[in-house]
Structure formats: structure tokens, C-alpha cells
């Protein structure tokens, strides 16, 4: 470092803000340079004067009191209504409500989807395994009594041959973990499976259409019974049939 650079660093030197290497170099220079030594002495004299005369101000007691009072007011105003406990309790309540809502929604939705898949599977299986019916009869008075003692409910069984949907028979099937009644109708070689089981809820719902793997499905609830009707029949004709059944 030259003389000029050292002069720039004399303040940092006097303030003990320099590393040891720079301190050594500056001390070496100070021994040789009168001008720098005088500047350095002036800095130290000034620092001495500032520290000795203690010109620092101290906070008046009045200010201290005012600030404490203002802080207390501020703390009360902001924390009375929004204490951490209150915020926590409110947040927890909202989170719980949201969780319950989402849980039941997804549960309902996934249950609905699972049942639709089961209905389709049951329908397909009934066609494949030549196990369409356990009791083959177009006579509703033969089919209905057949279920007695096999399920714990009595399904409505009607033949709609007059309207072009003859009853083909009935069988037991398994849906949503329960034994259910399956009625089979026929429309121009298109079989229609109708699954009947006791409804979990009590409210009636009108037939709602859905499609799955090329099949048309209707689902409704009526007088405490849940119905699933499925067929590869076109939607318009299946709707005619549903109208008869859900009458």
C-alpha cells in the first residue's frame, strides 16, 4: 500500500476494523510517515474527546413511561379479539368442518363409482356365464315368491310384456357387500338387468342416467328401495322401460 491508500484506511485502523496483516503494514508506515501519524493522533484525540465528554443523550423517564403505556394499549387492541388461542380454536374448527365435508364427499363419490363398476361387472358376468336367471319365468307370481327366504326384503316384480318388455326371470346377485335381487327383462334380444336392494338413505330420487363401458345405467331410489337398471339397449328405449318400472 502506498501513502495515499494508507491514509484512507487510518480511520478503519483507529476503529480496530482491520485485519492483522493490514494493521502490521499500517503500523510500519506510521513509524516512517509524520503526516499519517499526525492524522492518526487527531483521530484518536477526537475519539477521546467524544467518549470523555459523554455527549450521548439518555431517554427521558417521561418517554419511557409513554412508550410502555402506548405498547400496552396497542397489545390490548390487537390481541383482545385475536389472541393466539382464539385464532387457534377458530382455525381448528374450520379445518375440522372442511375435513369432514371433504371426507364424506369423496367417500360418497368413490362409493358411487365403485357401485357403478360392480353393476356393470354383474351385468356382464350374468351374460357370460349363462347364469342369467335362477328362476326362469315370465310370471311375476312365480318370480316374486322365489325370493322369499333368500333375501330379507320383498321386491316389486311386474311383467311388462304388454309394453314390449317381457319379464325373463330373476336371480340372486351380490352388490355393495349385500345380497340383492336381480330381475331380468328382455327387449328384442337385449337383456336388461335390474338390481334391487334396500336403500341406505330414506329420501327418494328420480332415475339418473350414466354411461359406463358402453352400457346405459339408471339409478334411483323409491319407497326405501334402491334400483340399478343396466342394459346395452339404446337410451330412449331404456328410458321407456324405466318409466314403466319407476311408475
Amino acid at each position: 500500500m502506498n501513502h495515499h491508500e494508507i491514509r484512507e484506511l487510518l480511520h478503519a485502523y483507529a476503529d480496530d476494523e482491520l485485519d492483522l496483516v493490514n494493521v502490521r503494514e499500517i503500523e510500519q508506515h506510521l513509524r516512517a510517515c509524520d503526516e499519517c501519524r499526525r492524522i492518526e493522533e487527531q483521530i484518536r484525540a477526537l475519539r477521546h474527546a467524544l467518549n470523555n465528554d459523554a455527549p450521548a443523550y439518555r431517554a427521558p423517564a417521561r418517554l419511557r413511561r409513554n412508550i410502555r403505556a402506548a405498547l400496552r394499549r396497542e397489545a390490548k387492541a390487537t390481541e383482545r379479539n385475536f389472541s393466539p388461542w382464539f385464532v387457534f380454536a377458530t382455525g381448528a374448527a374450520f379445518a375440522l368442518i372442511l375435513f369432514v365435508f371433504v371426507f364424506f364427499q369423496t367417500n360418497r363419490a368413490s362409493r358411487g363409482n365403485a357401485i357403478v363398476d360392480q353393476v356393470v361387472d354383474n351385468h356382464v358376468r350374468s351374460l357370460l356365464a349363462t347364469h342369467l336367471v335362477d328362476v326362469a319365468s315370465s310370471d311375476q307370481h312365480t318370480v316374486k315368491p322365489w325370493f322369499d327366504g333368500k333375501v330379507d326384503f320383498a321386491p316389486d316384480v311386474h311383467d311388462f310384456a304388454m309394453s314390449g318388455f317381457p319379464l325373463f326371470g330373476g336371480r340372486l346377485d351380490y352388490l355393495d357387500g349385500k345380497t340383492v335381487v336381480a330381475l331380468v327383462y328382455q327387449r328384442n334380444k337385449h337383456p336388461i338387468n335390474v338390481f334391487i336392494m334396500p336403500a341406505t338413505g330414506s329420501s327418494d330420487s328420480s332415475p339418473a342416467l350414466s354411461n359406463r363401458r358402453g352400457y346405459n345405467l339408471f339409478h334411483w331410489t323409491r319407497r326405501g328401495m334402491e334400483y340399478w337398471a343396466i342394459s346395452n339397449l339404446n337410451e330412449a328405449e331404456l328410458r321407456q322401460f324405466i318409466a314403466l318400472l319407476a311408475r
Binding site: E8, L10, H11, A12, D15, E17, R38, I39, E41, Q42, I43, R44, A45, L46, R47, H48, A49, L50, N51, D53, A54, P55, A56, Y57, R58, A59, P60, R62, L63, R64, N66, I67, R68, A70, L71, R72, E74, A75, K76, T78, E79, R80, S83, W85, F86, A89
Partner: protein
């Protein structure tokens, strides 16, 4: 109704920040240059610090508090005395060279504290800030840089110029 204690936030603030009230007032007093404005600045800064206390995560509560005091003071200064901010210390007027006098003479002249205070008050605001923090509060260059929001190099040059000017003022004081 859900409160269990008397604001733990307030007692933590009182424990961590209020011990630095003297330093805060000293800085504000030299920046504002009068009692009333200094008290206003510190009071406002304290409330602001309390409101933002949740955002304070560091170790250095003094530096954190002083930077709020400093910013509040500068804002207040601009509002109450817009001229002050534009005053540039006239180094030409105070002729560039410090007279090569005996260090002891400067010391004698600066004996009484009012002289020193008055001399500091003649400096521009940024220099008053640097001198107050360094000489009266013993802050390091790094701390001053953090409080004033400038690089360390700027702190160094401000201090050097502030001291040169102080020496000039004191050497001319009778």
C-alpha cells in the same frame, strides 16, 4: 376469553427491545436535533417495532430496533424539515485541510459536552448518524451498515469525512 396470560408477546418485546431505548433516543436526538421530535420519533418507532416484532427473527435486537428508529427519524425529518435533507456540508467553506494543530488543543477546546453536541449537530444527517452510532453507541462498521442500509465501504468513508468535519468545526469553535 381464550387468553391465558397477559400478552407474552408484549413481555418478550419489553425484555428484548426496550433495553435499547437509550440508544434509540440518542440516535433520534442527534438526527432530529430537538427533544420533542426525538421523542416523537422514538415513540412511533417503538410502536412500529412492536407491530413488526413477529417478523424479527435475528439475534441483534439492538440493530433491528435502531434501523427502525433511524428510518422513522429520516421520514419525520423529511416531513418536518424538507430543507434539512438537502443541506450538503460545505467542505469548501470549511477549507479541505485540517489544521495541523496539536491533538491536545482540540481536546481542550472540546472539553464541555455542549460544544461536542453542537458540533455533531452541524454535520449532515448521514454523518450525524455514522458518528453517533460509532462513537457514542460503539457500533461496528458492519452494524452501522446494517442499520443505515448502506455498504461497509460507505460507512467507512462517511465516518472519515464526518470526523474530518468535526475536527474542523471543533478547531474553529471558540
Amino acid at each position: 376469553m381464550f387468553r391465558l396470560t397477559e400478552s407474552p408477546r408484549l413481555s418478550e418485546f419489553e425484555r428484548k427491545v426496550l433495553p435499547h431505548l437509550d440508544a434509540a433516543y440518542n440516535l433520534a436526538r442527534f438526527l432530529m436535533r430537538n427533544e420533542q421530535d426525538a421523542e416523537d420519533a422514538v415513540q412511533e418507532a417503538s410502536l412500529r417495532a412492536f407491530r413488526f416484532f413477529d417478523s424479527f427473527r435475528g439475534e441483534n435486537s439492538r440493530g433491528w430496533f435502531l434501523s427502525i428508529v433511524r428510518n422513522t427519524s429520516f421520514t419525520l425529518m423529511k416531513k418536518r424539515d424538507p430543507e434539512e435533507m438537502n443541506v450538503v456540508f460545505d467542505e469548501e467553506l470549511h477549507s479541505g485541510q485540517v489544521p495541523m494543530m496539536d491533538a491536545g488543543i482540540a481536546l481542550d477546546r472540546a472539553q464541555d459536552r455542549q460544544t461536542v453536541r453542537a458540533a455533531i449537530e452541524q454535520l449532515p444527517p448521514e454523518f450525524r448518524e455514522a458518528i453517533t452510532l460509532r462513537e457514542l453507541e460503539g457500533a461496528s462498521y458492519k452494524e452501522i451498515a446494517d442499520i443505515a442500509g448502506v455498504p461497509i465501504g460507505t460507512v467507512m468513508s462517511r465516518l472519515a469525512r464526518a470526523r474530518r468535519q468535526l475536527q474542523l468545526i471543533l478547531s474553529q469553535t471558540k
